[in-house]
């Protein structure tokens, strides 16, 4: 037995799994595994109810036990990053918003922040606060969706509908603000597309009043449920160094006890002016990830409450005429306004040459947008650092040694959005 194989076998035998298993190592593993044990290779996905879309995981099973696994992606590849190169910065938000369709506003936000960094423009205060409030509401919606799908994946059908129902309340609020439930194209370079509508305070307040009671219910239904705990506690363990090594961010990293949250550690928007806690776990298991998301909803509600109180007045878009189209009333009066209206909507605005990276803390972790501009109205290259994509790397590590049912729980706890993974 070579040293490598002994290393691998020792690590395997110790119940430790291997962060990345190369093909060579996999052969070694095959050597370690007794050929008399008939293992079974099973394709979980891309058509499978619990793979959150079209994730495909190749599982090597011994009975119900997962020996090793390999996620395979690309089934939802839509070439959005490439598409971005043929869309102007004005149109860009309609494209990026579709990547992580469970939290569209974060995509728009990351994109807009990157473009604004390139443009070197300041965003009006009101726009910043609107963005903050909307994205936090979106975080709540996204986490509620997670609760729903996580419940469903573990067999609690009731939870699925409860989660969706609460999420729907938030989406309805979004609809009154942006006109669409999802894929809003609301946060754009320079601010937001429209001001909050009349009566938005009531809409937000309604959510803030109704949700805590529901969260209590979820606690009772899930958190306090022994079967639930049995299914999630100690399942899909990962440690801080492993998570860091694999680039995991968001709830996965925080579940290991590492308090890393871009909102607090690299504040953007006005997060340094609001009060909130970073929720962390202890064990790095599926339960921690569930609990973090549940409690992050509560933290988001705190932020939204503060936004509600502190919402400033003023412009909701930057007043730079080269970036923001003129007021509609002006295009029938002013030649300059008409020309700018015309050019911004057809050609888009020119962005100075350079490159920029802007990252936000999306519900899934660090969502970054990297843009290279050649001075034209379209990005030369746009890349999205998609948290789902990076987090997916932790899956094989967490799966090893679990059972099929654990696999479902673990995939669910990673909460990957395949639209974002494949882009």
């Amino acid at each position: 037995m070579s040293i490598a194989s002994r290393q691998v076998s020792a690590r395997l035998a110790a119940g430790e799994s291997i962060l990345r298993m190369s093909e060579a190592e996999a052969e070694v593993v095959e050597g370690v595994i007794d050929p008399e044990d008939e293992t079974m290779i099973m394709n979980m996905g891309p058509q499978h109810p619990s793979t959150h879309g079209v994730l495909r995981i190749l599982l090597e099973l011994n009975g119900e036990n997962v020996l090793r696994s390999k996620p395979i992606i690309g089934y939802l590849h839509t070439g959005m990053e490439k598409t971005a190169e043929s869309l102007t910065y004005v149109q860009g938000a309609t494209n990026v918003t579709r990547m992580d369709y469970a939290s569209p506003l974060f995509n728009e936000l990351a994109f807009s922040l990157a473009v604004e960094e390139l443009l070197g423009i300041e965003i009006p205060e009101r726009a910043t606060w609107i963005r903050m409030m909307m994205t936090e509401l979106n975080r709540m919606a996204s986490h509620l969706l997670f609760l729903a799908s996580n419940g469903m994946d573990l067999g609690a059908v009731g939870m699925m509908l409860y989660g969706w129902k609460e999420r729907e309340e938030i989406l309805r609020f979004f609809e009154t603000v942006t006109g669409l439930r999802m894929n809003h194209n609301y946060i754009r370079p320079g601010g937001v597309a429209a001001d909050l509508p009349d009566g938005w305070e009531d809409g937000v307040a309604r959510i803030l009043v109704a949700l805590p009671k529901r969260l209590e219910e979820f606690d009772t239904l899930m958190t306090g449920q022994p079967i639930w705990r049995d299914r999630t506690q100690g399942v899909g363990l990962i440690t801080t160094p492993e998570a860091v090594a694999l680039g995991a961010t968001g709830p996965i990293l925080r579940s290991t006890g590492a308090a890393w949250d871009l909102r607090r550690d690299q504040p953007y928007l006005a997060y340094d002016q609001v009060d909130f806690d970073v929720v962390v776990g202890t064990y790095g298991d599926t339960f921690d990830r569930y609990a973090i998301r549940l409690n992050e909803i509560r933290e988001s509600m705190r932020i939204v409450e503060q936004c509600l109180e502190m919402m400033p007045t003023g412009d909701y878009r930057t007043q730079d005429p080269k970036v923001t189209p003129p007021p509609r009333a002006r295009i029938d009066e002013s030649m300059e306004a008409l020309i700018h209206h015309f050019k911004i909507f057809t050609e888009g605005f020119h962005v100075p040459e350079g490159e920029a990276y802007a990252a936000v803390e999306s519900p899934r972790g660090e969502l970054g947008c990297y843009i290279v501009s050649d001075g034209s109205p379209k990005p030369l290259r746009m890349h999205i650092r998609a948290p789902s994509f990076v987090n997916l790397q932790t899956v094989p590590h967490m799966l090893t040694g679990g059972m099929i049912a654990d696999a479902v729980a673990i995939i669910s706890s990673v909460d990957p959005i395949m639209g974002e993974v494949d882009r």
Partner: protein, 435 residues
């Protein structure tokens, strides 16, 4: 104690006619009840989820099952290329037929009076008979036997599909059946012990003396709870629906089934739910027992019976709406490590109490022996539980040791490499210096 009075005076054509009617009525009743159950489950769980549920087919969507059935009829019947053709086709029928059989021993009506010799009869066409299709003296055994056979349907379906998910489903099904059959049987024994008969009619008659005599109370609540849990598992209902686990096995044993064959499984599953609810009512809740309110004395027991069944149906749905699914190993643990010992223990306790009641054993001795026996059991049980764990710990320790040795070896290798490099570097430096 004498079997169905219908056959007591010999058998004539009238008896056959009555039998025939009973079979047909039971069949239709079960079918209708099943259809109702499907609708009821969807409607009830929708209510629990703030939804409406089926509402288009018929008033309140009550014809939904019928519509689904019609749809199934017209779907294409697919069979995977790898499937075993005969078994693949046979399996759904096994499931469906056994589901029908179990219901035949359930008395669904008849006024039972406490202590009467030949109670619970009705007069049909001038014939005195029980309101159950058959009352074999070994009724409960028949039930257990039939429900064991039902597992074959599921198991063979999964195995014969020639596909991996169904195979896993069928493996789960057999394991689950074995684990829970035992607990189920054990919990029924307590009832049989009290009734002194395996006949369902006799068991029902034994509970005719009012709520207090219902075995759910008189046998202690424990057998009922065990039976309820085991029955849920036996029925593959949530939270024990591992066999079909949509989220894990994409439907499990019936992944590859379509059309009417799938409908048969679907039907069998819901029929079993109805049957099992009926049996629970029979065993623990006095069957058709209940007050006769006015007129039509034979009618009311049937109403009460179905009312009680409905409560259990609702309970199963409630389970589904509330509980997450157990994992395979947790299911096994629950069955083998909790339910079976508990059922066994309780059987001993109840038997002892029975004997004490009858005065055969001195209560003091009974208590002392009982405590000793319980203590021994507990020790044995704990030992059994921890034995596995200790083996695990030992393994752990051994592996850690191996790992440490490994690390030491590696370090040695590294040290050696470092040393070699240091020597080399020194040599290089020397050479450069000399130049």
């Amino acid at each position: 104690m004498l079997g169905d009075p219908l056959f007591r005076n010999g058998v004539d054509w009238g008896d056959f006619a009555v039998m025939g009617v009973k079979v047909v009525v039971a069949f239709v009743l079960l079918l209708v009840a099943t259809m109702f159950m499907v609708w009821f489950e969807r409607k009830f769980i929708a209510d629990m989820q703030n939804r409406i549920g089926p509402n288009v087919a018929g008033p309140w969507g009550i014809l939904q099952t019928f519509a689904d059935g019609v749809k199934f009829f017209f779907k294409e019947d697919l069979r995977p290329a790898n499937a075993d053709p005969l078994v693949f086709r046979l399996a759904p029928y096994i499931s469906a037929v056994t589901a029908f059989l179990a219901f035949s021993i359930v008395p669904i009506g008849g006024v039972f009076r406490d202590g009467e010799a030949d109670t619970g009869t009705v007069t049909l066409f001038g014939k005195v008979t029980y309101l159950q299709v058959a009352d074999p003296p070994i009724g409960i055994l028949l039930l257990l036997a039939v429900s064991s056979i039902a597992v074959y349907g599921v198991m063979l379906a999964g195995w014969s599909s020639g596909s991996k998910y169904p195979l896993l489903g069928s493996v789960r099904a057999s394991a689950q059946a074995i684990s829970y059959e035992a607990a189920l049987g054990m919990s029924v024994v307590a009832v049989v012990l009290l009734a002194g008969s395996l006949s369902t009619h006799d068991i029902t008659a034994g509970q005719a003396g009012g709520v207090r005599t219902w075995y759910v109370l008189s046998a202690g609540i424990v057998p009922f709870v065990i039976f309820l849990i085991a029955a849920t598992a036996e029925l593959n209902r949530p939270p024990f629906d591992l066999v079909e686990a949509e989220q894990e096995l994409v439907g499990g044993f019936h992944t590859e089934y379509s059309s009417i064959r799938f409908a048969l499984f679907f039907l069998a599953e819901f029929m079993n739910v109805v049957t099992m609810s009926a049996i629970m009512v029979t065993l623990f809740f006095g069957g058709p027992a209940g007050p006769v309110l006015f007129g039509m004395t034979w009618f009311w027991p049937t109403v009460w019976f179905f009312a009680k069944v409905l409560v259990f149906l609702a309970m199963f749905i409630w389970f589904r709406a509330t509980l997450p699914r157990l994992r395979y190993d947790q299911l096994m643990n629950l069955g083998w490590k909790v339910l079976i010992p508990l059922a066994l223990g309780w059987l001993l306790v109840r038997a002892t109490i029975l004997q004490v009641d009858e005065g055969t054993i001195d209560p003091v001795i009974a208590i002392i022996v009982g405590i000793l026996a319980a203590g021994a059991c507990f020790l044995l049980f704990t030992a059994a539980l921890t034995a596995g764990d200790r083996a695990y710990e030992r393994d752990q320790a051994l592996q850690e040791q191996a790992l440490q040795e490994q690390a030491l070896q590696e370090r040695a290798v590294q040290d050696q490499a470092l040393q070699e490099r240091a020597v080399q570097e020194q040599a290089v430096q020397e050479r450069e210096g000399s130049r």
